[in-house]
Symmetry: C2
Subunit: 851 residues, 2 copies
């Protein structure tokens, strides 16, 4: 392309194009990224030229930001600004942008001085034009988007594309070089920053927190992340709380509380706060630059000292990391007043301060004056390239924050070295002959995953890892905890692979940051409470969807959920802990991003999770029980079944080779599978001539049409398995409507009768719970009788027997507080052949403790 | 019933049964609840008898709590404890319970002394046995559940029912007298507490925050609620941070940071912290009682002084409210060690400290010894009633925290005095002849709702009330803000009806607390970000569902969402701000709780909201646009249409009286309605003989079968409107699958073709957005051509024309950055008759600024 940037030897940015970044990325992996990590330097107030350089960068970035918001053409203002140069729809956010640009310029100086690998996380992601402007000054933008060269035509395109149909979003996004953090929903910057810092000992993550974002819950608690960071093993997060005073229409809380209260708050969070304030009442920005430079020098020295102590093993207690409170005017440097109303340093500067720039000649002149205030002719040469005096502030190659491989984690990602999960499987002599806790078995495998991948795999959970029966991992690791450790504590250590904090937001945010910087992980959580991060999962799914379309973004590890303590076994907790709707929520996302698995026992869970940990760019939702439950499949069968994703279990049914069955009993999920098999056993005993097919679904998306989801089963295969004419009684883990939805385009979908979770369930015993939701074996048998043509009359007696058995079970549970022995002690192998006519005889047995 | 409690004159609890509580409730409404509000008293260390009484209450509550967790029988231990007295499945949580009981006992003393109306909110809601125990000692439990009398049989039933099939949940729940806060998901206690305190100037809300809960994001930010409470107009929240040190399996963050850091944190939150610590290393509880009593006296005096200043108008700045840090052992008073492992004061005391009480005789003895340590024979009389010495600590009647009408808000609820919404409607000379912002029109009505209901209606929003165009409300009120107010600020005041903080969690929590204590409100929010509170809405829906089954719980106002800035108009923001899935999420909840409305213009929004504000016990989800958009219905038509919930728009179609149409164009949502009408106009012009019916759906649940949802349309009515055989092209606001799901049982459901939001949308102009998602008018016309039998050949030319028009529109937008004039300037009235053949001629027009 003619307009591609022509890098010269003088453009440091040109030295190491990001796409070919494997060399430096490899350095980073080898821990050799930073040749002199965490050096201490005497504070150096900016000398004349350096001061001017930082300020010139800032002016240029501000100019480029405003240009993006406003201009279609005339990017260098070589002509008088005319109405037609201005976009017809003015969209974007100026308010936070000059602050983001200010910090970026200063970090550049520090990075150059200290050769400090740095990732820049900007909480106010709606300051998108700023991040783009800095990446453009860095040279990175032109490297990854060749039509946007460092010249007049490139600048015009840069401006035009911003928040324009077919262009780039107005927020930070996957399209933004240097970003791992999308603008949109606020609250996760600091969690993302910590996630990025874990296991990157030489990385500085500078994290700007907007004072609006600071009001959100997730951000408010993420300050405490510092108790979970190991100063020796992990990198450093430098929080920069940017108080520009206003949100969309209100002042912010933290900008209006007394300064001593704010300092108390930051000390209460365990930080050593430094305040930089200025730019108000026309104060010369050069003075503010001096303050910021001096503070950054001090702060980096404090960090170096902590790192030194940590390396020497002399650090005691939780490190008191520094943080910066930066107080500058909202929309700094925009017009003070427009149409008689104050704008700079008010909420009116939040989006587009001058919204009517096209409306009158006078308003067009205001915009022109504003742009000219930055003196573009001093910042860009005749061709439109930023002058060398400015670009000299850009660090070399991948030290540029816009080009750091840490913001394109796929460059740094190493595949996991996974132990063979088959070696961890349970013996299954015959289906249902033994019980195991699926997650406990998984935990033993994960222990060795950790051993073999000691620095790029972590498990996150809200204080539930042991509750979810993954305690096997403590054979090979500890929980990372950098607050006080007492002798009574178990499995706490300054460094470890398990991250537990009672905040699903933190767990999700840390994991996202960890994955986006090229590592691997699992989030284990109670199923019902994963809804807490619905909107975060949304945003991550959107990030993955868009990233797939960006050639320079490399694949990152999938985000793996392990949802245990699921809705069917909340014996300790009840109704308030039940909601299987996270699956529904995720299925609304793009099909190429989301996978849902419902393993049915220990071996299928192992096989599923091995698959998940090898995958990239997905969100894998895995729901699995933690209670001891029957093992159905040998490892070999489990692998085959998981590979198919769904399949017939011939051993469970009574169909005749070569004939269509009379009815299909389908199931997805461990509890539904158990009830389905119990129903199949009842049918085998009582209606031995009924041809029953049993189908289990592990990979839920197999149900959807192949045209809708990459995992979708071809229609003819689906028809072969489910038949097109026979009744299908489907027992499902979650809300029944999802099964209808997924099978909507299937030929036989009108034959489906789905039982699932019905939002009924204050009880404490497993079978009482399934009865409350009508998912029990007796109901399934009745469903078959009601749906197989002709059976209603033939099997009227059995139907009544099922009703009676159900009422007996109900009465027993309510009397004794535990499940009736015929259910609690039921097993496939015993019922199969032996029969279930013990039903009535054992109903009055006492004992049978299954707790 | 024979086992009903027999209240005696000595039982103060018996004086005022909660069910007949209207008298005192009326007192509370009249502000006369507390005859001597906020008195100051000299601190009085507990005298001998009072000290013993507080301690005896605490012992009794602890005994009753343990009894609930463990015992099936032998409640008073009159016989040696045997294995069969113990429940077969031990479920529940002891760890937090002694702390909750301790606080309850001390609050009783304060309430008696000061006649202080008090609501007790317990963040650790899994301490359910404690709340039940206290309500039982109060007498309230026996009043509302007559079979659970204050006698031996009643106590046995009390124990047995706890966390037992058919009994009560193990957490605080709607079944718990005195609770507005369900145990389950953690994080919302303080938000609920503040919601309860707003507009209840004489109410003290004592809010226990567990140190586990304190790690959640929502809790971490809710400390800042104190900046939003007006000391004069509102009640008082007393946060009691209960540090018992451990979660399920870990220490807690706030219990392990240095104490000076913790104090800094609380001061940073704007509080004056008081520490009470004790009970460790066998310390005599009597000493801790003394400390707590003295501290509570001080704290109440501080509160009284702030209230005095506020009443006198001399309070400056934000009130520095006191708070208490209470540090006691987890599981306080349970066995120190079991089976060689420390239990008391460790995480092992979290749930059931002695899980194997039935397993061996020795373990059964441990339980017996533990229970006997409280000396039940000193606490309960021969008949099993708590002795008068203890019950004298219970405040009178509704001053009992378990009996306060503030925890059964329906008792206090007054209906809103609503101005006639018809007077606020817009004139509609003909459909689409004028444009209005629906939410702006609503705002004008809400302004007068506020004027007429100055003390029991509030609007909550995350800094988006003006952005959502409800700024009309500022004609009659302000935003409540008790931090610094500067001259530049607009619409901020110490007291006001609009509550804005940038935390959806806080908005939701405040509103829930406000509604649960008998008031009314609206939560206005960007549609995409309402997912942030998915799980909170879940829990509230569960609360409402269960409350309906509890006779003594009175109806509360519905929780009303107004979701604006919806997914189709995120011009400023784009893809990251788009997700219409909250509707799907809510539809998973019980049908008798959830309502979803998609008003189509200003008049239908007014009518809908009037309905919502009059309703009780629902969650109403209303989605409405804020951008100027066509008005379709006169007020009279709007009322009729909203009453029906869905209906044919005869003026929009071309059907012939008495004949079935050839095709149905259905729509739900404002943007889909616009595109549908534009498609209808195109069809009218180009295929004038095609009989098109246009149907609009306002009340989404009308689509569901009458058997599934109370709003469901009868099948024959549905068939009449949608036909059973004709193609239905349905344009929907959200994910298309929901329409399929709701109509799944309808005869003609296979004829439905739904277009909706497809998770595609980085763009900045309205029509480009609908095109990206294939919801545009041209697509709808093509859908009709493809689906009406025989039309494909006849209308092949028109189909091509639609394709071309679409491509022209796309190209124009990408070139000019705004929508093509033929679309941007389209109006029903102009197209209707005038025709749309201007299409091609105007495609190249310049101008037409629609921004």
């Amino acid at each position: 392309m003619t307009d591609q940037a022509t890098p010269t030897a003088e453009t440091p940015a040109a030295a190491a194009p990001i796409i070919a970044g494997e060399t430096l990325a490899a350095e980073a992996l080898a821990g050799a990224w930073n040749p002199t990590p965490w050096p201490t330097r005497a504070p150096e107030p900016l000398e004349g030229e350096e001061l001017q350089r930082v300020n010139a960068w800032w002016r240029a970035a501000n100019y480029l930001s405003i240009g993006q918001i406003y201009l279609l053409d005339n990017p260098l203002l070589k002509e008088p600004l005319s109405r037609n140069d201005i976009k017809p729809r003015l969209l974007g956010h100026w308010g936070t942008t000059p602050g983001l640009n200010f910090i970026y310029a200063h970090l550049n100086r520090i990075i150059q001085q200290r050769e400090q690998a740095t990732l820049y996380v900007t909480g106010p992601g709606h300051g998108g034009p700023g991040m783009v402007a800095n990446a453009y000054l860095d040279g990175t933008y032109s490297e990854v988007y060749s039509p946007i060269g460092q010249n007049e035509e490139g600048m015009k395109r840069l401006f035009r594309q911003f928040s324009f149909p077919g262009g780039i979003p107005s927020h930070d996004s996957p399209e933004t070089p240097g970003s791992i953090h999308e603008g949109g929903e606020l609250g996760y910057s600091l969690s993302h920053a910590y996630g990025a810092a874990f296991d990157n000992p030489n990385l500085l993550v500078a994290c700007v927190i907007g004072d609006g974002e600071a009001e959100t819950g997730p951000l408010a608690t993420s300050w405490h992340s510092n108790k979970f960071l190991d100063a020796a093993q992990d990198g450093v997060v430098l929080p920069i709380l940017h108080l520009n005073g206003y949100k969309i229409a209100n002042p912010t809380v933290l900008a209006r509380i007394p300064e001593d209260e704010l300092l108390d708050l930051m000390r209460g969070y365990g930080h050593n706060p430094h305040i930089v304030s200025g730019g108000f009442d026309d104060e010369d920005p050069l003075l503010v630059h001096q303050r910021m430079a001096e503070t950054l020098d001090e702060v980096l020295n404090e960090i170096a000292e902590i790192k030194r102590q940590a390396a020497a093993g002399t650090l005691e207690g939780t490190a008191r990391w520094p943080m910066i409170i930066l107080r500058t005017p909202k929309g700094w440097t925009c017009p003070k007043e427009i149409d008689g109303l104050p704008v700079e340093n008010t909420w009116r500067a939040h989006q587009v301060p001058l919204a009517n720039a096209r409306d009158t000649e006078a308003h067009t002149r205001i915009l022109e004056d504003w742009l000219k205030k930055y003196k573009p002719e001093e910042l860009f040469d005749e061709n439109g390239a930023p002058i060398e005096f400015i670009t000299q502030l850009a660090p070399r190659g991948e030290l540029r924050m816009s080009a750091t491989p840490f913001a394109n984690g796929g460059l740094l990602r190493r595949e996991l070295d996974l132990p063979d999960f088959r070696d961890y499987g349970v013996e299954v002599a015959s289906p249902g002959a033994s019980d195991d806790s699926a997650t406990k078995v998984l935990g033993d495998w994960l222990a060795d995953v950790i051993t073999q991948n000691p620095d790029n795999f972590r498990i996150f959970g809200p204080d539930e890892t042991a509750s979810n029966r993954l305690q096997g991992v403590y054979k090979s690791t500890e929980k990372q905890w950098n607050s006080a450790i007492w002798p009574i504590d178990e499995h706490l250590a300054r460094a470890g692979r398990v991250m537990e904090v009672l905040s699903e937001h933190q767990c999700e945010g840390w994991l996202e940051g960890y994955l986006l910087t090229g590592r691997h992980g699992i989030f284990n959580c109670y199923e019902a409470f994963i809804h807490i991060i619905d909107s975060m999962a949304n945003q991550h799914a959107k990030w993955l969807k868009v990233s797939r379309t960006i050639p320079w973004r490399r694949s990152i590890s999938s985000l793996n959920y392990l949802l245990s303590s699921h809705v069917w076994r909340q014996d300790h907790n009840g109704f308030s802990h039940q909601d299987p709707g996270f699956i529904d929520h995720m299925v609304n996302k793009k099909a190429d991003v989301v996978r849902v698995y419902l393993p049915v026992d220990a071996n299928t869970l192992l096989s599923t999770y091995d698959h998940c940990l090898r995958s990239v760019d997905y969100i894998n939702v895995v729901v699995a029980g933690k209670q001891p439950a029957p093992n159905w499949l040998t490892m070999q069968e489990a692998v085959a079944h998981c590979t198919r994703g769904l399949g017939i279990w011939p051993w469970a049914g009574t169909e005749v080779q070569g004939e269509e069955p009379d009815v299909v009993l389908a199931c997805a999920g461990d509890v539904p599978a158990l009830e389905t098999l119990a129903a199949a056993a009842l049918l085998r005993e009582h209606l031995p001539n009924l041809k029953v097919r049993v189908v289990n679904v592990i990979d839920l998306m197999r149900l959807e049409s192949a045209t809708e989801h990459p995992h979708g089963l071809a229609d003819d295969e689906f028809d072969t398995i489910f038949t097109t004419t026979k009744p299908v009684v489907f027992a499902y883990h979650g809300y029944p409507s999802l099964i209808h939805r997924l099978t909507y385009r299937r030929t036989g979908h009108n034959n489906l009768h789905v039982r699932g979770y019905k939002e009924e369930g204050t009880t404490t015993t497993p079978f009482d719970m399934v009865m409350l939701n009508d998912l029990d074996r007796y109901h399934l048998v009745m469903d078959v009788i009601d749906r197989v043509p002709g059976l209603a009359i033939v099997a009227a007696g059995l139907r009544q027997e099922m009703q009676d058995a159900r009422m007996r079970a109900r009465a027993y549970t309510r009397e004794r507080g535990e499940d009736i022995p015929v259910v609690a002690n039921w097993s496939w192998s015993r019922s199969n052949g032996v029969g279930v006519s013990q039903e009535s005889s054992t109903a009055d047995d006492t004992g049978g403790d299954n707790s």
